[in-house]
Symmetry: D2
Subunit: 354 residues, 4 copies
Amino acid sequence: MRPGDGVRVAVVGCGYWGSKHIRVLHAIPQVEEIIAVDPRQDRLASLKRAFPALRLHKSPKEALREADAVIVATPPSTHMAIALQALAGGKSVLVEKPLATSSLDARRLIEEAASRSAVLMTGHTFEHNAAVWKLRELVESNELGRIHYLDSARLNLGLYQGDVNVIWDLAPHDVSIFNHVLRATPKVVEAWGSRHGNRRLEDVAHIRLLYPDPEVTGTIHVSWLDPCKVRRVTIVGSSKMAVYNDLAVDERVRVYDKGVEAINSSNLQAQPMTYRYGEIRSPYLSFEEPLDVQDREFIRCVLEQDRPDTDGENGLAVVEVLECANISLREARPVYLEEVSDLAASWSGFVRAL
Amino acid sequence: MRPGDGVRVAVVGCGYWGSKHIRVLHAIPQVEEIIAVDPRQDRLASLKRAFPALRLHKSPKEALREADAVIVATPPSTHMAIALQALAGGKSVLVEKPLATSSLDARRLIEEAASRSAVLMTGHTFEHNAAVWKLRELVESNELGRIHYLDSARLNLGLYQGDVNVIWDLAPHDVSIFNHVLRATPKVVEAWGSRHGNRRLEDVAHIRLLYPDPEVTGTIHVSWLDPCKVRRVTIVGSSKMAVYNDLAVDERVRVYDKGVEAINSSNLQAQPMTYRYGEIRSPYLSFEEPLDVQDREFIRCVLEQDRPDTDGENGLAVVEVLECANISLREARPVYLEEVSDLAASWSGFVRAL
Amino acid sequence: MRPGDGVRVAVVGCGYWGSKHIRVLHAIPQVEEIIAVDPRQDRLASLKRAFPALRLHKSPKEALREADAVIVATPPSTHMAIALQALAGGKSVLVEKPLATSSLDARRLIEEAASRSAVLMTGHTFEHNAAVWKLRELVESNELGRIHYLDSARLNLGLYQGDVNVIWDLAPHDVSIFNHVLRATPKVVEAWGSRHGNRRLEDVAHIRLLYPDPEVTGTIHVSWLDPCKVRRVTIVGSSKMAVYNDLAVDERVRVYDKGVEAINSSNLQAQPMTYRYGEIRSPYLSFEEPLDVQDREFIRCVLEQDRPDTDGENGLAVVEVLECANISLREARPVYLEEVSDLAASWSGFVRAL
Amino acid sequence: MRPGDGVRVAVVGCGYWGSKHIRVLHAIPQVEEIIAVDPRQDRLASLKRAFPALRLHKSPKEALREADAVIVATPPSTHMAIALQALAGGKSVLVEKPLATSSLDARRLIEEAASRSAVLMTGHTFEHNAAVWKLRELVESNELGRIHYLDSARLNLGLYQGDVNVIWDLAPHDVSIFNHVLRATPKVVEAWGSRHGNRRLEDVAHIRLLYPDPEVTGTIHVSWLDPCKVRRVTIVGSSKMAVYNDLAVDERVRVYDKGVEAINSSNLQAQPMTYRYGEIRSPYLSFEEPLDVQDREFIRCVLEQDRPDTDGENGLAVVEVLECANISLREARPVYLEEVSDLAASWSGFVRAL
């Protein structure tokens, strides 16, 4: 981009998330121009009414050419094609989660970005969320003690996607949160899924992740078909437990000073455990809208040609887990991350050699 | 028992559940005498203080002999031995859930009861619970439409058992509820489990049941190691959804008039589903304590030599699922109920022939 | 205004509510231009960034002249002066609640509007709220039976006003809801208030209204100094009870099918009442943002020179109650609405004669 | 009573509270015998079934004579007559709240107890409640800062009393909590009340108390006619705020580290206050059943001839407030405690002289 000037950002895909990006970008001073691209004219028209300064573009190709930076907020199955073209044009790219719908595609994007020295960022908004930072802080300060497990539930009625199942749609959030909080990636993935409301795509799923270091279990329940809205992450440690409830405006994170301890006793009649109960505490969080924090960070990286924390590799780590989960769904067995990464690595070379 | 007289009930095991039985039995007019048996003298002494008419017995053998009916509320691994001896003496027996810790043992009890024409009842209290009856009514009246899935969560901090894992301890409730509501048993069982607070026994587990007819998925989350107490069953149907929250005193069952419907469209860009939102309703339930309802039913069956709904077969059906879940834990694969029942059936003959 | 054209709206006062009006007006097609006026330049600058088409005006006088319609969202004590000037220029005026800080002032505005045939609307947003409409429907359909009382609580920490106490700031909502639901005005007002966080202005108050027809008691609790946010209206009838909780996104209105009935008995030892418990129901409400509904209605009235339901008289009725409440605060006695209206009516003539 | 022996306790009145006392007394080792007295034979019969060792007595007179200590749990209007007779016989007496239904009667009991050197205790259970102790500790440790106000709500559907209004029935709890927490009594009382479900007795009331030292406002909302059960005390201080929710099993007391501070500024346009938001904390409370704690304390006082904290004077202080509240109800004006205490003091001498 032209040094010293503001950033011209193309937002490709102006549905639920795309229009949020457009709103947020309007409040970032370094953004000079926002270009909206979407196949649906009605969406564009209504955005134009709300944001008169917005520039509309019929041709995605041209929009990409005129922008310095591109935010890809299209259906997941199209992420790779659009992001690749933008990167090939040397643009900085922020791709909504999931980065791609296969680890092979994700690797392709990482390589393209590397070869062009272009910024590639993944839209893992929860890694820009003060509540998730607090969770990581609770883990790293050892306040929770040794971590036993993480559990996450992301349930609601809708919104069904048309091109990917509920795992690809909702679980990227949970995997990204777990990886972020633990600064680690899992080794094994298992998944259960069912199709109920929709014949083609799973709308309810459970995923289980085994992290080797630290040795932690992660479980995820995602659903498009539940009567109650739930957005909750629980972390259970040997000293304390924490619950992050994204729907509790004033007390997103609560820390429970309670736990159990095994009693060493040969007497099987005796109680096997002691229980400890203490105070419950909701630390105050100075909350900023995570999408806003994320998009500011993207613009900063664009301007300073810096590498974001949620870079392509970060996005790939999540995609690999989702890919394993989908294999586990089909084959009803635990899937090792290695299986996927080895395969992708070998094909990656093959594809690159084409 | 002596016709025309009241029932003399021996309660074997006077811990958490046993002492509840003793309280409840005191209010049943047909109960003439209650005999308490437990290896821990302190428990017996404190019960005697609260219930001065209670008769204490040091010898379980003699207690069984003097009673007309026996309630077995000991650790699960001892259910079989105690219940078998009571049945062998021709006594009516109510065994706390789970009926036994293997389907082979459960079958042994059923056979013994049959050969003695003795009453054998399983303590599935939730099948005596007005909220669960309401769930069944919602399903059978077709108010929920075609049932998609059932989901259950039973979480808390403690109380760890010393001789069985969390699946054997808590999941009997959920399996019994599912079987009762659907009037069916599952065909395939999968389970995940982890040991965190305790080295020997799983304290967090997820179970998945596939019911063939009606074709329904059931998922269960049980935990001894969770910061929040949860006792919740969700049923999602094609017309409505119901949630039974056992902790909500005034609104145990809520019916959500909402759902989704797939749109038949070849356009992948289009929304794949429509969503319907209607009223939420909490029917009034005239609630009686389920343990009280159950124990009255037990006494009635003893007096009338009737067969309870939650009989030995009912208890066996749950034990088979738990057994499959534990095999799935160990072998990380889906387990068919048939595997377990075929095996048990063949060994059952072998054992009988001894 | 010029017939056939869109409406040019001046928003005077661009704080919390003013900026909401600006956002909402942007989405109304009949609004041609929005002019923002505020003494604080920083507010205007930040609004301009979010809404580039917004026209800023330094001079309120000129802004009023160039507009067809004026929304007054300034501190309450300035409502009268600004609205009067706008009406005097023949403009349509929507005044945020309370219409004025004395009934004398409110009457002055009504007279001015009448003499100019100008639209005068009061910003009682809750009368444009689907939940409040549902409450009125429950009352008028007789579903609740004979109404016993209404009770309202509007509590939070902040936001303190600088020029009026918590009664003038928050209670207009509750009085407007009560008057709307009952289609009536009270006859007597009592109030208690205390100053805690602020030395000059009451920050916690209770108000009691007696409605003569129907004979209903209304109680209101308003607070700027409470740890918990509460926005709740309860209506208790002889047949059912309803609770409107504005913070419950999915179940704003709940209807409780329960009640009491007196037993006619001369036996003082006997229970004096019977209790009836039935289902709880949350009707589905198709919810639109009330401010949006209100501002559209304002624009419609401007274009069609129609009289809104929440007209000047409607605003006056609320102001009279608040005035009585403030007299009751000072004099520690019940205050009759007549006292205030008689006085204002007499002075009104006097002022008019000036 | 006979030194060295256990205490024989007569429970007069075996309704809701009386039968709770009977249950609790059974677990107190120093209680040798429990004698139940009630005009309703069905109540006695059902208690006898649950507690076979219970002694029933048809004649209250004889029961009083045979007991060492008497618990009066009859309708409030009969407290005075029964307690007086018991005290006259030299018995120790615990009277359920309110101690009496007039301060004159309460004084009569105090004098009788003094003249007989008999123990007189008032059944203010909340003063034996760990949550209320925590509130007092928060106030006295100055953690909350200077106390601004206390607010209490005690709402439910039922249970209507037959002989006193909702103020005499429910507000004793709140007044006793306020007096206990502040170690003070109020100077002025105001009250509003309405009769809805019942023609004779107020079923909804608001009370306002002004404490002079420390200068604190107390407000109380009591209702027998509310759709939602509420048991909540809020204390707002200059540093922090505390909420005691008696229905929240695990988090009865929550401490909010938030508050406001006035800004000294001559600029009326400026924000008048700053707001401070910090963490929310639920201290762990080791909870024992308050009635149990209270009755053990009563038995201890009986055995050691000690004076309980909730003595007759403590009960009188509450009765005086309730009496003022009822005068305020009738006369629609603030009532000074002095009015009632002066009058009662003068009549007290007169009555004594009879």
